[in-house]
Symmetry: C2
Subunit: 258 residues, 2 copies
C-alpha cells in the first residue's frame, strides 16, 4: 500500500519550539483507547477488538508547523486526518485570488472529507499554530468499515455533520448582518472550547481579523469594528486575540438582531 505522505517530499526532521528534533511523520502506535478526544473522534463508541483494529489503521501521526499546509487543493487524497493538537484553517481559492475560509479545525475535528469525491483535495488546509494530526489512510478505513458497523456509521456521521455545519455557515453568510455574524462566531467558538473542556468564557483566538473576516464574508475592518462595538456594549472584553465573554445573553441578542 502506498505511503500516505509520499506525494509531497517532507524534510526528514524539524526542530520544534522546545528544541527537540521531531520527525514530521511518526509511526508511533496510536492509543485511541487512552485518547482524551475519543468521545468526539471517529473511534467514538468503538470498543474491544474493533478498537484495536482501528488503532491499527490510525498508525501514524503527522506534525505540521505553523504556517505550513496539511495539504493543498489538487493534492491526491489518501487519508483523513483527526486533529490531536493545534489549530487549522481550511479555505478555497478562486482563480482570481479571492479566498474563502471554510472552517477552523481544533482538536477532535476531522479534516480531509473534501477529497473523497474526486481522489484529490478540493481545498487547502493550513496550520494556524504548530499542530499534530492522526493520519487515517482512507483505503484502510474503508476496508475496516465493511466489518465494523460503528466505524462505517461514524464515518457517515462525520460527513453528515460537516454538511450540516456548512449549511449553518451558509445561513450566516446569506442572511446575517455583520455584527450578528461576529457574535455567532464568538459564541460558536466558545461552545467548541467548552465541548473540549476549555473555558467557554475566555480564550485566545488563533486566527487574525482578516481570517475571521474571510470566514464570515466580511472585511477585517468590519470585524474589528464589530468587536469594538461589543466591547463598548460590555458584551465582551477583547485585547487583540484574547477574548473574554462578559454577557453571553447580550451576544445572543446581537446574533438574532434583524
Amino acid at each position: 500500500m502506498m505511503p500516505v505522505l509520499a506525494t509531497r517530499p517532507m524534510p526528514a526532521a524539524r526542530v520544534c519550539l522546545d528544541g527537540t528534533p521531531q520527525a514530521s511523520v511518526a509511526r508511533v502506535p496510536n492509543a485511541c483507547s487512552s485518547c482524551g478526544l475519543r468521545s468526539m473522534c471517529l473511534p467514538c463508541g468503538i470498543r474491544g477488538e474493533d478498537l484495536a483494529e482501528v488503532e491499527g489503521v490510525v498508525y501514524s501521526r503527522r506534525r505540521v508547523v505553523r504556517g505550513d499546509n496539511l495539504y493543498r487543493a489538487g493534492d491526491p487524497f489518501h487519508a483523513l486526518y483527526a486533529v490531536r493538537t493545534g489549530f487549522f484553517k481550511s479555505f478555497v481559492l478562486t482563480d482570481d485570488g479571492r479566498t474563502q475560509v471554510t472552517g477552523f479545525q481544533m482538536p477532535g475535528d476531522m479534516i480531509g472529507l473534501d477529497g473523497i469525491e474526486d481522489d484529490r483535495h478540493q481545498q487547502h488546509v493550513e496550520a494556524l499554530e504548530n499542530a499534530e494530526v492522526c493520519v487515517m489512510p482512507y483505503a484502510e478505513l474503508e476496508r475496516s468499515a465493511t466489518h465494523i458497523p460503528r466505524l462505517q456509521r461514524g464515518l457517515h456521521r462525520m460527513m453528515s455533520r460537516e454538511i450540516v455545519r456548512e449549511q449553518g455557515l451558509m445561513l450566516l453568510l446569506g442572511t446575517m448582518r455583520a455584527d450578528a455574524r461576529v457574535a455567532a462566531f464568538l459564541l460558536n467558538l466558545s461552545q467548541r472550547f467548552a465541548d473540549r473542556g476549555y473555558s467557554a468564557r475566555e480564550f485566545n483566538l488563533r486566527m487574525s481579523r482578516e481570517e475571521m473576516g474571510s470566514y464570515l464574508g466580511l472585511k477585517l475592518e468590519t470585524v474589528s469594528r464589530a468587536i469594538s462595538r461589543f466591547q463598548d456594549l460590555k458584551l465582551i472584553c477583547a485585547q487583540h486575540r484574547y477574548i473574554r465573554l462578559e454577557d453571553v445573553d447580550g451576544l445572543r441578542a446581537q446574533m438574532e438582531r434583524s
Copy 2:
C-alpha cells in the same frame, strides 16, 4: 423492518395533473438497470448481482406534489432520496423566520444526507413542481454497503460531493458581488441541465426570484436587477422564468468581475 414513511400520515392516493389517481408511495420494483439517470446516481458503476441487490434496496418510489415537503427539519431520518423527476429546494430556517435556501435538486441529485448525523433531518425539502423520488432506506443501504464496495464508495462520494458543493456556495456567498452571484447561478444551472441531456442554452427556471435570492444571499429585487442588466448587455434573454443564454463568455466575465 419499519416502513420508511410511517412517520407522517400520507393520503392514500392523489390525483395527478393528468387525472390519473396515483399512490404517493408506490412499491413498484425500481429498475436502476434501465434508468437513464444511473450514471449520475448512487448505483453508478454497480453491475450484475450487486445491482440487483441495490434494486432490492431502492424498493419504493414516492411522489411529491408541488409545494409539499419531502421532509421537514426535525423529521426522523430513515432514507435517502434520489430525484427521478421534478425539482426540489432545500432550505434551513432560523427561529426568527429567516430562511436560507441551501440547494436546488434536479433529477439524478441525492437528497437527505443532512439527516444521518443526528437521525433527524436538519433542513426542509420542498417540491418546486410535481416530483418523484426513489426511496433508499438508509439502514438497508448501510447493510448492503458492507459487502458492495462500490456502493460504500458511492455513498462516500455523494457526501463528499455535497461538502464540496457547499464550499463553492460559501465562496459565492462570502466573496462575490450581486451580479457575479447571479451569473454564477445561471451558468451552474446551465451546466447541470447539460449534464442531464437538456439544453445548456435555454431553460425554464423552477424557482421564483425570491428563492433565487435566498439561495444567493440577495433580495429578490437585486436578483431581478441583475437579470435586467444582463439582458441590457445582451448576455441573456429572459422573460420571467424563461432564460436563454446569449453570451456565455460574457456571463463568465461577469462572474469574475471584482
